[in-house]
Symmetry: C2
Subunit: 337 residues, 2 copies
Amino acid sequence: MPNPRPTIRDVARKAGVSHQTVSRVINGKDDVLPETRALVEAAIEQMGYRPNAIARSMARGQTRTLACISPNLTDFTFASVIEGAEVEARKHDYFLLSSSASDPESFRALVDELVGHRRVDGLIVINPYADERYEFIPKDFPLVFVGASAHEKDICSVSLDDEKVAYDATHHLVSLGHTQIALVTGPMEEDCSRDRTEGYRRALMEAGLPFDETMVIEGDWSATSGQTALQSFIEQGRVPSAVFAQNDRMAMGIMRAARDADIKIPSQLAVIGVDDMPLSSYFDPPLTTMQQDIPRIGQEATRMLLDIIQKKNPTVRELKLSAQLVARRSTSEKGGD
Amino acid sequence: MPNPRPTIRDVARKAGVSHQTVSRVINGKDDVLPETRALVEAAIEQMGYRPNAIARSMARGQTRTLACISPNLTDFTFASVIEGAEVEARKHDYFLLSSSASDPESFRALVDELVGHRRVDGLIVINPYADERYEFIPKDFPLVFVGASAHEKDICSVSLDDEKVAYDATHHLVSLGHTQIALVTGPMEEDCSRDRTEGYRRALMEAGLPFDETMVIEGDWSATSGQTALQSFIEQGRVPSAVFAQNDRMAMGIMRAARDADIKIPSQLAVIGVDDMPLSSYFDPPLTTMQQDIPRIGQEATRMLLDIIQKKNPTVRELKLSAQLVARRSTSEKGGD
DNA sequence: ATGAAAGCGCTAACAA
DNA sequence: TTGTTAGCGCTTTCAT
C-alpha cells in the first residue's frame, strides 16, 4: 500500500466536517443532513475509506465475534454444527472463531485466550462433558452447550433428544419382529451415549423384551470400534438378529465385520445407525438411520447465544431436537436407498 | 461480574508503579527489576487481571488472527486443511477464523468484512479458482492459496501435485494390465481437475494407450456424479475395465452403480480414487486410493502466510505435496484393506 | 444537525 | 530501570 489507510479523521478533513459526523454516516445514524451525508460519502468513496473493525471493537467494548470449541473440526457431525453456527452468526453480523481442543488442557488454554483475553463475546462448547474440560468452562460468560444438556440448570444448551432417538431406532427394529437386539454405544462417559442407551432400554421394556447387559458393547464412535464389537459377538457365537449402533460410523464397521463373516444384511442381521452421514445411502446395503438436522443445532445454539449476549434472556434455555427415521435396506429388503 | 475488569492502570495503582511497568511485565520485557516485577505480578494475581486482546491489537496494529475461506466447512478435505491450519496458527499464537463462502458474492462480502475492515492479518483461500471468486481476492494483502497454484506468479500457494498424483493412479491401473481405463473428473473449471486429467493422459501416452475423450466423464466431486457416470457407460454398453475417479466420493458412487448393475469389483471393474477419506477402507471392497496428507497442506499454508506477514519473504512460494498409493481390494483381490 | 472532548486498554517513543 | 506523554481509530457523552 502506498499511503496508509485513511481514518475517519482524514475523511472528515476532506469532507470539511468533524470526524464525529463521519462516524454518524458510517453508522447509518439518521441525524445527518442529506447534503452533509452526500459530502461525506463522496469523500469515503474517493479515499477508499473502510472502517477498522478493531477500533470499533475497542470503542464499543464488544468484538462481534463468537467462539465455538469442538473436540475437532473434521468429524462430520462437529463440522456440520460449526457450519450451521457460522452461517447464523454471519447473518447477524458476527464472526465465528472455531477452534479444536482434543483434551482438557488445550481446552483450558483455548478458553483462557478466547474468553480470558476477551477476544470473543460468547462461547459455544460442543460436547462439554466429553472429558474433564467442563471444569474449565467459564460459567460467568455468555455460553451455550451443544450435544448435551447442561447439568447446571442456568446454562443453555442445544442437543438431540437422544433418549427419544434411541427409543425410535430400537422401536423400528422391534416392529420388524426382532427380539435379539444388540447395542453398540459411544463412550459411556458421554451423556449422549447414556441417554441413547436409556432409550434403547425403554423400547425393549415396552416391547416386553429383557434388557440384557451382555448384548451391549461400548464403542468409541469409530468404525473400527463397531467392527470389533460385532466380531466379539461372533466369537462368542451369539450373533444377534439386529444391532442398533449409536452412530453411523460404528454401523459401518458392523457392516464391514458382517461382510467379512459372511453374515447377510439385513436377512441375518439388521443394522440401524444415527446421524445419516453423507455417504450412508452409499453403503452396501444403504444404511437405515436416524437422520438429524445437524446444522440446525449450530444455528439454534448461535441464536441462543446472541440472545444471551443481547440480554434478551432466551425463551427456551434447553432445546432438544428430534431425528427422523430413514428406512433403507440395512434393516429390510424393502427399504429405500 | 461484580466490578468491571481491572485494567493495566488499576494494577499499576495497586502495585505502586506506572502502568507502563505493568505493560512491561505482562509482555515479558527484561528491563524490569525483579522486585518490581514480583510486586506487579502479585497485584495481577490478586486482582485477577487479564490483558485485553482487542486493546493490544489496537495498539500494536495487528490482530494476530488469520482467516481461511473455504467453499464449505463440512467437506472432509476442506475441514482437514482448516484443522491443520488452525493447529499451526495456534502454535504461533495466532487464531484462525474459518469461514465458508459457497458463491462469489458471499466470498466478496466475506473478504470485505475480513480484509477490508482489517479484522485479520492474513488470508488463506481454499480453491481460489473454483468460480469467479478470484476476482475478489485482495492481491495486496498477505495471502496464500490452497488447492491450486496461483496464476499470478507473486502469490504463494500450497497444493497437491495433481498431475503427478493422477499419473501415479493411472499408472497403477496400467501396471495391472488394464487398457480400457475410464476417467471421472471433477468440474473442469477447476485447475485441479484439469491437472489430474493431464496426468491421466500422460500415463496413457507413456503406456502407448490412446487418450479417448469418450472415456472421460466430468463429475462434480459428489458420489452421485460418480454413480451417474458409470451408469452412462453402462447404458452405452461400453463398460471399461478400470476407472480412475478423481476423488474418493465419486469412486464410491461408481462402486455403488457397479453393485446395482452386478458388475464385480475388481474382477470386472477396477476402481481407484484420490484422498483416502476416513471410511475408504470400509467400502466394499476397500478402496484403492492416492492418500494425501491434507492437514499438512493447511499447516504449510499457515507457515507460509506467517512468513509473509512477518518476514515478508517465504523461501518457498509454491509448494506441491505428493500423495502415496494405498493399494486395497478395489483394484486387485490381492490388495490390502 | 453538528462539533468538541473524553475515553476504550493497551503499546511505543522518549525522557528522566 | 522507570515514568511521562502520545497515540492506535473509533464511539459516546454532552454542548452548541
